[in-house]
Amino acid sequence: MAMSFEWPWQYRFPPFFTLQPNVDTRQKQLAAWCSLVLSFCRLHKQSSMTVMEAQESPLFNNVKLQRKLPVESIQVVLEELRKKGNLEWLDKNKSSFLIMWRRPEEWGKLIYQWVSRSGQNNSVFTLYELTNGEDTENEEFHGLDEATLLRALQALQQEHKAEIITVSDGRGVKFF
C-alpha cells in the first residue's frame, strides 16, 4: 500500500519543510500540506495519530531529502486541518488527533443519500451494519472507522435527519 502512494512534487522540494514567512507563499504551502496529510492518511487507512508518530512518520520526515518539518510547523498544519474540519483533537494536551479525509458533514451526506436512495428512511441500523454490512459494500463509507462514523451521524443528528440510539449490543442509528 505504502509503495503505491504517490508523493506530490512539493515533497521533494526542500522549502516545503520550512514554514514560509511570506503570507501568500505560506497559504499555498499549508494547502499543499493539508492535502498531503489527508491523502496519506486515506491511503494508509489511518484515522488517528499521535503528534509523536507524526514527527517520525515519512509524512513529515523525508529521509531521502534529509528534511523534516519541525514540530512547531507540524502544529500549524494540524491547526489548519482542524479549522477546515478534517481534524479533531482527542485529548486536552493535543497529543493525539482524529484525522478525517472527508469532513463528518460530507460523510453524513453520503450516508443519508444512500439511505434515501435505497428507500430505507425510518429504518434502524447498527453502526456495524453501516460500515461492514453487505449492502454497503460498494459505498464509499464502507469500512469507515467508528470514530469518524459517529461524528458523521452526529452531524446528521444536528440536521434532524438521524438519531443515534442504543441497540441490543451497542449503538445504532435511526434515519428519518
Binding site: P14, P15, F17, T18, Q20, T25, Q29, A32, Q66
Partner: protein, 308 residues
C-alpha cells in the same frame, strides 16, 4: 652544593616555645643549591655579632607571643607564608576599592552634570529667540564631546538643522561616484567609513550621518536613505531600482537551482549583507522561497506560486 652549619647552644630553661618541641639534632644545616652562601654567611655573622634581637623593646617582644598581628605576621613555615599572601591580597583589594570609590564619586558628579546640561538645553529650547543659532550649535557640540546626547538635537532631527542639511548636500556630492561604482547601493556602515576616511579630521558621528541621510530625499538630492525590514540601512541612488534588481536576482537563483546569501554575493560581486537584503526582498515580493535547515539558509525560486 655549598653548606653552612649553625651549631646551637643547648636551650636555656626560660626559652619560649618555638616551631618544634624538641629535636635530636643540635645543629641546623643550610644548603645553598646555586649561590648566596657568601652573602648569607656575612649577614648571619653580622647578626650573630650584633644580636639586635636581644635589644627589642619588651612590649613588642610580648606581642609577638600572641600569634599573628596585622603587619607583624609570624612567618612560621608554609602556614606563615600563606597568611602573608592573604594579608597582601586583602591590602590590594582595599586599595582597589578605594580607587574605585573615587570613580563612583565621579559618576555621581557626572549624573549631576548631565541633569544640569539637560536643563540648560531645555532652557535654550524655550528661549530660542534669545540665543543665537551659533551658540546653540556650540553648546550642543560641547555636550556631544562629553558624550551626552542632546535631547534638543533629537527632537529637531525630523526637520533637521542647517548643519544636517548642509551635510546632506555634501554627502550627495561625495557619494555619487562611489555609489555608481558599487552598483548604485551601499550600506550605511560602508558610507560612514568612506566619508570619515575622506574627511580625515572633524569626523562625523554616526548620529549626524544618519540625520543628514534622513534629509536626502526631502532635499530632492539624487540619493536616498532606505531602511529594510531587518533594520539594515542603505544609501541608494535615486536612479537605482532595487525592485528591478530582484528580477535579475531571481534569474540568477533559478539558473543555479538554489543559492545561499554568500553564494549569491560571490556570484554577483556584492557584499553579503546587501546580497542577503536583496534575496529577502525577493522573498517578500513572492519571487523566492526559503529552505531553512541545519545546512543553512538557501533561497529557491518560489515554485509554490509558479507550479500548480
Amino acid at each position: 652544593s655549598a653548606k653552612i652549619v649553625v651549631h646551637l647552644h643547648p636551650a636555656p630553661p626560660n626559652k619560649e616555645p618555638g616551631p618544634f618541641q624538641s629535636s635530636k639534632n643540635s645543629y641546623i644545616k643550610l644548603s645553598f643549591k646555586e649561590h648566596g652562601q657568601i652573602e648569607f654567611y656575612r649577614r648571619l655573622s653580622e647578626e650573630m655579632t650584633q644580636r639586635r634581637w636581644e635589644n627589642m623593646p619588651v612590649s613588642q617582644a610580648l606581642q609577638t607571643n600572641r600569634g599573628p598581628q596585622p603587619g607583624r605576621i609570624r612567618a612560621v613555615g608554609i602556614v606563615g607564608i600563606e597568611r602573608k599572601l592573604e594579608e597582601k591580597r586583602k591590602e590590594t583589594d582595599k586599595n582597589i576599592s578605594e580607587a574605585f570609590e573615587d570613580l563612583s564619586k565621579l559618576m555621581i558628579k557626572a549624573k549631576e552634570m548631565v541633569e544640569l546640561s539637560k536643563s540648560i538645553a531645555n532652557k535654550i529650547k524655550d528661549k530660542q529667540g534669545d540665543i543665537t543659532e551659533d551658540e546653540t550649535i556650540r553648546f550642543k557640540s560641547y555636550l556631544l564631546s562629553m558624550g551626552i546626547a542632546n535631547p534638543v538635537t533629537r527632537e529637531t532631527c525630523g526637520s533637521g538643522t542647517q548643519y544636517h542639511m548642509q551635510l546632506a548636500r555634501q554627502l550627495a556630492g561625495i557619494l555619487q561616484a562611489p555609489l555608481e561604482e558599487r552598483g548604485g547601493i551601499m550600506s550605511l556602515t560602508e558610507v560612514y567609513c568612506l566619508v570619515n576616511r575622506a574627511r580625515g579630521m572633524e569626523l562625523l558621528s554616526p548620529e549626524d550621518l544618519v540625520n543628514a541621510c534622513k534629509m536626502l530625499e526631502a532635499l530632492q538630492l539624487p540619493l536616498r536613505l532606505r531602511v529594510f525590514d531587518s533594520g539594515v540601512m542603505v544609501i541608494e541612488l535615486q536612479s537605482h531600482k532595487e525592485e528591478e534588481m530582484v528580477a535579475s536576482a531571481l534569474e540568477t537563483v533559478s539558473e543555479k537551482g538554489s543559492l545561499t546569501s554568500e553564494e549569491f554575493a560571490k556570484l554577483v560581486g556584492m557584499s553579503v549583507l546587501l546580497a542577503k537584503e536583496r534575496l529577502l526582498l525577493a522573498e517578500k515580493m513572492g519571487h523566492l522561497c526559503r529552505d531553512d535547515s541545519v545546512e543553512g539558509l538557501r533561497f529557491y525560486p518560489n515554485l509554490f506560486m509558479t507550479q500548480s
